[in-house]
């Protein structure tokens, strides 16, 4: 019988961003993105929850060593995005609108290559205490 367990690691980072589509004129950007399009940026305390799912290893009892998972998230995600401007300071969002949806996809892809393929990975990202996204859906 397969018994899968999910383990979760919670990390956080603070960043500035703005939502803007450079292919649109200013009035379209304002209409679609509202206050989030303001030119001088705004920011959030992002709360990141990473879920890893699989069968506990019979030798360790772990799905994945949580310390290693934490180190990977800090190294690959937090050190890249914390106290940064997502639009200006990161390669990932040079040509990609840094919505919560896109940030979750980017974080997933940064982590996916670091975690055993046999384990499922899900990223939950809170942009505010009231807005959050999940990827994969």
């Amino acid at each position: 019988m397969i018994r899968k367990v999910s383990v979760f690691r919670h990390e956080h980072f603070n960043a500035a961003h703005r939502l803007n589509n450079p292919e649109w004129d200013e009035s379209t950007n304002e209409r679609v993105f509202g206050k989030c399009n303001r030119p001088h940026f705004h920011g959030h305390n992002y709360e990141l929850i990473v879920r890893v799912t699989g069968e506990p290893d019979p030798k360790t009892g772990f799905v994945m060593d949580m310390k290693i998972l934490s180190d990977i998230i800090i190294d690959k995600v937090v050190n890249k995005f914390d106290h940064r401007n997502l639009n200006l300071d990161t390669e990932e969002f040079k040509n990609l609108n840094p919505t919560a949806e896109n940030i979750a996809i980017v974080i997933h892809d940064l982590l996916r290559t670091e975690i055993d393929d046999a384990l499922e990975l899900k990223v939950i990202l809170y942009e505010t205490p009231r807005n959050y996204v999940e990827y994969p859906a």
Binding site: H12, N14, A15, A16, H17, K35, C36, R38, H40, F41, H42, G43, H44, N45, D82, H83, R84, N85, L88, D89, T128, P129
Partner: protein
């Protein structure tokens, strides 16, 4: 020598003081950077908070007033009206803004939460309805950092 005795009944002067807090929130960018210092000195003192291109937070704002409940309404203040005052005078100026560049009452000040909470106090103080007194403003920058200001 005339001795004047004043007899005062103090009983009606005893007030019941109640504190009411209105919670609002805003999201904003800022940086901690002293333009009189070198980049190296700013980095040494403010660390990642000095990042040239800003960073940001979800701020939570707690505005506490104190007063005696009105016998007709039971309120010390209409909480909805207090919320409207905070939204119109503070949140409108701060939400989805750059605190260093966009906020008139933070101009030429270091953009720390300490200075921000004092600025918010000074903006709100004259707008507080009669009958209540502004008691405390608490400003939460992250789930792990907040400041309180009592006006003194």
């Amino acid at each position: 020598m005339a001795i004047i005795l004043l007899c005062v009944n103090f009983a009606p002067l005893i007030k019941i003081m109640v504190y009411l807090t209105r919670v609002e929130h805003f999201n904003a960018a800022h940086k901690l950077y002293n333009p009189a210092w070198s980049r190296e000195q700013n980095d040494a003192v403010f660390g990642r908070c000095a990042n040239e291109n800003w960073h940001g937070h979800n701020f939570e704002l707690f505005v506490t007033v104190k007063g005696d409940p009105n016998p007709d309404t039971g309120f010390i203040v209409d909480a909805k009206m207090l919320g409207r005052i905070v939204k119109d005078s503070i949140i409108e100026k701060l939400d989805h803004r750059n605190l260093n560049l966009d906020v008139d009452f933070m101009r030429d000040k270091m953009c720390s939460i300490e200075n921000l909470v004092i600025g918010i106090w000074n903006e709100l103080k004259p707008l507080i309805p009669t009958g209540v007194e502004l008691h405390c403003i608490k400003l939460v920058e992250t789930p792990r950092i907040y400041v309180e200001y009592y006006g003194d």
